[in-house]
Amino acid sequence: MTTFTDYILVCAGTGCRASQSEQIISSFKSAILQHGLKKKVQVVRTGCFGFCEMGPVIKMVPDNTFYVQVSPSDADEIVREHLIKGRRVERLLYVNPDTKQQVSDSKHIGFYKKQYRIALRNCGFINPENIDEYIARDGYVALGKALTEMTPESVIREIMNSGLRGRGGGGFPTGLKWDITRKAQSGRKYVVCNADEGDPGAFMDRSILEGDPHSILEAMAINGYCTGADRGLIYIRAEYPLAVERLKIAIRQATEYGLLGENIFGTDFSFRIEIRYGAGAFVCGEETALIHSMEGLRGEATIKPPFPSEQGYKGYPTNVNNVETYANIPVILLKGAEWFAGIGTEKSKGTKVFALAGKVNNVGLIEVPMGITLREVIFGIGGGIKDGKKFKSVQTGGPSGGCLTEKHLDLPIDYDNLLASGSMMGSGGMIVMDEDDCMVAVAKFYLDFTVEESCGKCTPCRVGNRRMLEILTRLTEGKGEMEDLQTLKDLGAAIKDTALCGLGQTSPNPVLSTMEHFEDEYLAHVNKTCPSHRCTKLTQYCINPENCKGCTVCARICPVHAIIGERKVPHVINFAECIRCGSCMEKCKFNAIYVI
């Protein structure tokens, strides 16, 4: 076995690397050599600690001391003091800004950990295909407790007191929804799990279903007990085959244990769960459309009321909740409403899972307490913007949400704050954009998606969105007029007011929010320029003959042979042929190609 007794873990994440972590590693190595510790101490590079604002950070193992803002010149002192004399280097310890106390031990104090996992508690921890591993983590105890020690009313009260709100995006209080379904008079009721995750770039629900399927089954059974339903249906898209497979295994195992089926925990409560497949239509994430799709009808929304809680699947009262909402339920019953309500902001309790994507260094699946700021998420957990570029905007809420800017970075994330800023929580997609992204093109991308996914039932959504898309297309092609901007605003407002369902009512958000926060970019497009050089019809690649050496690299890389020129003679681009792919600019070694 190893002779190493100590390790120095140096963060080599992108942020820390930019602030000299490689030099730190080499100074540690030479200090170790100098003090004759080569066989005792090992230096190891690690991934990002998510604490970039205090970087470069290092961690000493085995005593878990955490040093922040370390510079290469500190290495010798750390080796002498910490490793040889066994004394901590006080000046490099982190000082907690709230308590003004020095924090040294990274293991027991999660001071830099901005993430807290409730819904994802078992993801990446248990084997999702083994029910025993779920049970070892208190699985099905909440169901047992509810069935044998609590009344349906008291379970619902607990959920209400916890302040849990729907994680699918709407944010409707979950306990209240359960109570409405419970009070509905009917001989038959249904529990539905909405696993029709459709936002581009969002994969929270898939990850939960693939990593911890039993938590969903348990929560649905608890819901059945509360509402008086004996059947559960999981509506999931067929394009999630692994999630489907693991759900099937989970249902089989739970049934074998008697945790689903007849007389669960020896009570007279029985509950069965079936899977229903969706073909992958965005509108089917809307609960009425989802129910119609399960009934074998077209996936079209209908007017509410009646709400599904009163009249849903086949006309029976149906409780529809999203995957992540369900994933929170067992923990709330085990730890108590008060514990859950202690996390988050005044009106948004608990945590939220986000799929952090786009131009950040640490793309990932994260779960953070409500009330965390966008800055902490993007520059802390996310490790900042890729390639040292400038942050421009962050899109939350998918095609229903909006784009937030620099000035929103310190906004605490919760349902109401996001709504007030022209975006929304949505299901948890979070796409970060940098200075190279064109906001008009981004708005067009989302609207393109909505137009494609509109069910076509109501006119505002079917026709209105198409007209908006046509205007955006004109703008990105340099054919837009000043009055188009007003038309976009008018159409957007009208669609929001008159569309039938959530899809239509929120579809203008990406356009309206970018118009509000990035008006200058829209004006630039009216003036036939794209400041980010993204809109190909408004962009021109040119060769500066003074820099061009005639090396022919660009001519060879051009996929449409639009670059012509003799060897050692400055080349020229044939604008009529050029498709503005930018490959030539990427490959040019002489900075001879520029874009206007």
């Binding site: 873990l9 090992q42 991934g47 950990k113 901005k114 993801c123 084997n127 692994l242 260094n361």
Partner: protein, 132 residues
Amino acid sequence: MNKVKTLDDLRKIRESFRAEIDLREKSSNPEQMPQIKVSMATCGIASGAKEIMNYFIETLNLRKIDALVTQTGCMGYCYAEPTVEITLPGKEPLVFGYLTREKADELINEYIRKGVMVDGIMPVTYDAVEPE
């Protein structure tokens, strides 16, 4: 399989399985096996987790190293997939990212066989709600 009829039945399963895990993880008996968990959600598999899992199983077999290779869901480090978590007997679990066959070889040779930490450790950046 016995049916769970009461909350106590469930707790019994829980305790017996926990004891099994404890035996696997906490005991520092060198006879105990190292455990390798591979993050196998759709995204991990798409970036090669399945090949890595097979590679671990084959290589460990070939070298006659006793180890337990299992799968788990998404660990959240999408930028560093494929990821694995390795628990040596009596040690804290460590997550390693950006797995390749070469990296897997290094992990087997250095970390699993000799207990030497190597580059590529992913710090745990979250706390999770713990069971009772």
